[in-house]
Point group: C2
Chain length 204, copies 2
DNA sequence: GTCTATAACCGGATAGAC
DNA sequence: GTCTATCCGGTTATAGAC
């Protein structure tokens, strides 16, 4: 492995764990098994190194609508695939969402500029939804609210795990893990229940 | 206003905005209109001052189930009141949730110890839910998942506003504010739709 | 490319006058 | 209680040898 790769791996670990303000170049150097001076040789400054880690982190957790959108025929299959896929991703990167959000709140101007205008293909989702609303099989629902709510349900437990462990699970690690494992099914059922139009009743 | 109160107001502002690592005693002093030495006279250290601000911030946003629980007869009215009340609270304190979560992730051991075991009366909610499940008017749902999901739907847009503005609203402040104002109704409808048992259809 | 040594600065904390 | 001046450790960044 090249030195540059070692540095990036170390920087990833330290920045994600400590945030920009809490991270120390010395700690990154130790983690990479080199010394501070070499960090500045490869990346001019703490800022430059951070920008690289932040940008790649944002890419990693930017919701990947595209893949799920192309392959799925209706909103229900799409949501099912999306929720499962995103949860699986976050299992590998549990601390990245909190890192990205924290840094975006610290310096929105600079960092939003850095990631550019990475919009989401909300129009495709809108048309997918609209068809079923017209057919009457889906309750009228805003695509923006639906997608923000879906992401909230998926991501929030990863961001807020210490507070959830405290107020809901009395610091019981075991019960919290069990909760997380049940989460996928709960979310999918929750969302589908929320947006599916009820069948007509006998009196209607 | 006493000097101590001025300091606390300034510290609140700076700590919530910048976090522990990003906050500077000098900035707090400036904000309070005094000098650094006086900060240390009133609060021994940055740590002590921070602990006070963090503890009170946690109290502020700890979900106030108790009030809504005592007064409401069924889970639907309870959720309606809870969502509305919490959103109204967060309008006044939009940056506090991200602050508390950020700090809890930075040093869970110490800060969880600080806030003690402030559990939530989940048992009252469970019994409230169970009655309606038995009657068949509510889908079987775990109280923990329901409450975590409810809080996620409420709090997430406040934590993640920069990222939402970027990927969903193309930095359009106007459209984002409109979105936030619609949010209460969406959340309540979403949750009630998700947990309400469908009426029986003609074929059953 | 990699290292040691050090410059230059910053930030929390304290001493001591008023 | 409040201030000015200062200490001291830590942090980023660079100079220069190998």
């Amino acid at each position: 492995m090249t030195t540059e790769e070692q540095i990036l791996i170390a920087a990833r670990k330290v920045f994600v764990q400590k945030g920009y303000d809490g991270a120390r170049m010395q700690e990154i150097a130790n983690e990479a098994g080199i010394n501070k001076a070499l960090l500045h040789y490869y990346f001019r400054s703490k800022d430059k190194l951070f920008e690289q880690i932040f940008t790649e982190s944002f890419q990693l957790i930017r919701p990947a609508f595209e893949s799920a959108l192309g392959s799925e025929p209706d909103i229900r299959s799409f949501l099912n695939l999306f929720v499962g896929g995103y949860l699986q991703l976050l299992e590998q990167l549990p601390y990245v969402p909190q890192f990205v959000i924290q840094e975006l709140n610290r310096d929105p101007q600079k960092l939003v500029g850095l990631i550019g205008k990475q919009k989401i293909p909300i129009e495709s989702i809108k048309s997918m939804i609209q068809k079923e609303i017209d057919k009457g099989t889906l309750l009228p629902v805003s695509a923006e609210h639906l997608m923000v709510s879906t992401i909230a349900l998926i991501v929030f437990p990863f961001i807020a795990s210490p507070i959830l462990k405290t107020v809901f699970f009395n610091q019981d690690e075991e019960r919290y893990n069990h909760f997380i494992h049940e989460r996928r099914d709960h979310i999918v059922n929750f969302i589908l229940g929320a947006i599916t139009a009820p069948k007509r009743t006998q009196n209607e």
